[in-house]
Symmetry: C2
Subunit: 246 residues, 2 copies
Amino acid sequence: MEFPTTPAVEAFTVEPGHRRNTVTDQIKNYILKNDLRPGDLMPTETEICATLGVSRSSVREAIRTLQALDIVEVRHGYGTYVGNLSLAPLVEGLVFRGVLSPENNFAALREVVEVREALDLAMAPAIVAALNGSADSVLKELVAVMVTKSTAGESFPDEDLAFHSRLLSYLDNALVGQLVAAFWEVNTVVYPLLGLPPAADMDETAKAHGAMLDAAQTGDLEAYKKAVIDHYQPLRRALEKATTVH
Amino acid sequence: MEFPTTPAVEAFTVEPGHRRNTVTDQIKNYILKNDLRPGDLMPTETEICATLGVSRSSVREAIRTLQALDIVEVRHGYGTYVGNLSLAPLVEGLVFRGVLSPENNFAALREVVEVREALDLAMAPAIVAALNGSADSVLKELVAVMVTKSTAGESFPDEDLAFHSRLLSYLDNALVGQLVAAFWEVNTVVYPLLGLPPAADMDETAKAHGAMLDAAQTGDLEAYKKAVIDHYQPLRRALEKATTVH
């Protein structure tokens, strides 16, 4: 299998401006041909230059590109490894997009919140089916901490992410979990960068996590969906308010 | 507003291995402070070195990173511009992930197909509400071409993408449209790279696009959702068959 140098990925990119680089593709092919996996050590820069017959500067540029995409990981003083292929590049791009156009009524952030809700609702039947009849003490404890913290006027980002990540770990689809975590992260990072005040009524969000859990464990799909929507209400209200003010 | 050098984005990245670079953040801050927009010309490498007081090699590395993320675009012979902030980096990472583990029962590709279906179903109420009572001749023509091509045994990727993109353009959320296009692209690029034979019964997929359009324009949400699911069946069957064989 070869990475084509002018693949379909180029032809159908909705927004181009992203040029393929041959040395980049050659290094990808090297990883594939040698059956390397995330965490495996890559050859040195010198070895790659020799193997591919290309200059050191072009290898260095390609490695830098692949590093930005989390396809390789450079551990300074140790070497270059195959990367985790995480969604960190998506997060980085969307965070920047989110803060680039604040005058545009926070449209980019609103779109992220809508995508989060859409993914949560799309996964609702599978989540409810997976949790129906179970009793997850970790999720229960996370809800308790979120409610306690919100009552004390504290934020609870760690517990929030942990709750959603654990919920989605019940699904046989790692990509969905990573996407939900990625959009959660974009949301959480962009919100304060836009200078928005903390959403009021975050206790509603804390409690709605509890309603989600109860509904899933009793197999009540409609109640679960309602709790998902309720759980975004404080955030949506804060965004609407900010849009009106600005 | 400043990009923090150790932002929350680092603390909550589900899969780390992606290091923040201070010069990268400084260049992002430059774009924000100067209120630049996609397509705007950036200062030259020399100017950035002088402005930020950093070395040429670190600026070059940072530009390469930002280029991979489509935050800047380098047009050789013309200059460096603010990039389109597209989802091309997501596509590139997921395509590589998709081809990296073919022995794993095509799990990465199956996950992409499931995310596509989930997003389509999540958007169903908004799409049906937007198209109800309308008659979009462009979508109708795209369906006709897909049916004609599939009857002739031809594939129809261009029309397929154009259909979904136009359908989603009815929504007030550009991010959803870009995500759907991105996952479509990953799917379309990875499938042949895995050596999978073309899905049989692609005429079912072609016709199901027509059923989606009819259902949306007559406001029949349940029929729309059924057509969305039907439209993925040939692809799902092809994947199941390949998983059994391998």
